[in-house]
Amino acid sequence: MMRKLLEKYPVTSTAILFLLWIILYTALQLLADAAVALAGLPQGAHLTEAVRFFVFEVPKVLLLLTLIVFAVGIIRSYFSPERTRKMLGGKKLFAGNVLASLLGVVTPFCSCSAIPLFLGFVESGIPLGVTFSFLIAAPMINEVALVLLFGLFGWKTALLYMSTGLLIAMVSGYIIGILKLEKYVEPWVYETKAGHSELAEEKILFPERISAGFDAVVEIVSKVWIYIVIGIAVGAGIHGYVPENFMAGIMGKGAWWSVPVAVLIGVPMYSNAAGIIPIVQALLEKGASLGTVLAFMMAVIGLSLPETIILKKVLKLPLIFAFVGIVAAGIIIVGYIFNFVYS
């Protein structure tokens, strides 16, 4: 029935849903407190605080996620890999890297399409370094990560993550570009003749974009909600039970090695943003420092082992190592800068 109404009155029903969203969002604290009171938990106990954190944060993050994924779904409907490729065509290094990183954020991308996209870009003459800027930015800066950062850390951290992530994508791609690593791309890539499908340039009407937004919500929220719930549950546990300053020794500013170690641990770890961020947020409260935490998150989200393995099909080992090494170095530098600035 929802679907029918949406199809018939897309703008009105979206506006009504948005209104409901606002009411629900503003009532969250009240609802959470009421839930805790109803459960009859003792004031100030560890368990109570953990439960309060959980029943407030889970609906909050899910609500934020719904809204942002919807908005991003609409924005993404204006972009496609084909359009992005066209926009990147003929761009010089650096300008190309900047544009590719920005487009990496808004172009619909799934890591399972990394190879067809890589082939499509390289085959149409987009420089390797520019292609990499795209491939680095696309997974690292995603709406789920931004929502969680915004919801759990605040807008400043979300903005920091986004801008430094973009910077890493731009600079890493640029470095890969000037290193002239084309010889480490599997030769068959350059022999591939990509065809052209007429599919790309369909005209989309605005109501269809709204429905694209709802599709994105259904697809993404149904996929990540469970990780968010588990992540926040673990976070709530840490929140309530792990002693203050527990992390200071391991992930605090004092330990200079904490940033590289966090990255080394983060790279082979494969977790989506939804699961890792709530846990990391709890660690921050227990004395871990922001730079270390940010570096860890970027390493987990931006550099994932499965994706690197997928890329192995088109890239030879030296290029894979260069890619992982350069991005990891960028993340470490960002980690140190934040630890320095926030001390």
Binding site: C112, S113, T192, G195, L199, V314
Partner: protein, 81 residues
Amino acid sequence: MNIKVLGSGCMNCQTLEKRTYTALQELQIDATVEKVQDYQKIASYGIMRTPGLVIDEKVALAGYVPTVEKLKEVLLAHRNA
């Protein structure tokens, strides 16, 4: 009718293949369904997003997993074209 499901074998492609079979069965259309996992072949159809669906060598859709209903529409449109 010859149908090709393009994709590297990830979750999305498997779902698309399954739904294609369902749609064909419900429409009672006779068709051969092949999987294309070779990246060079996938690229030769000009798509940069998987999964893709090719009907009689024409790209019918790419980049998302359609519902069975949408698949039926696409199949019928192709048959009647």
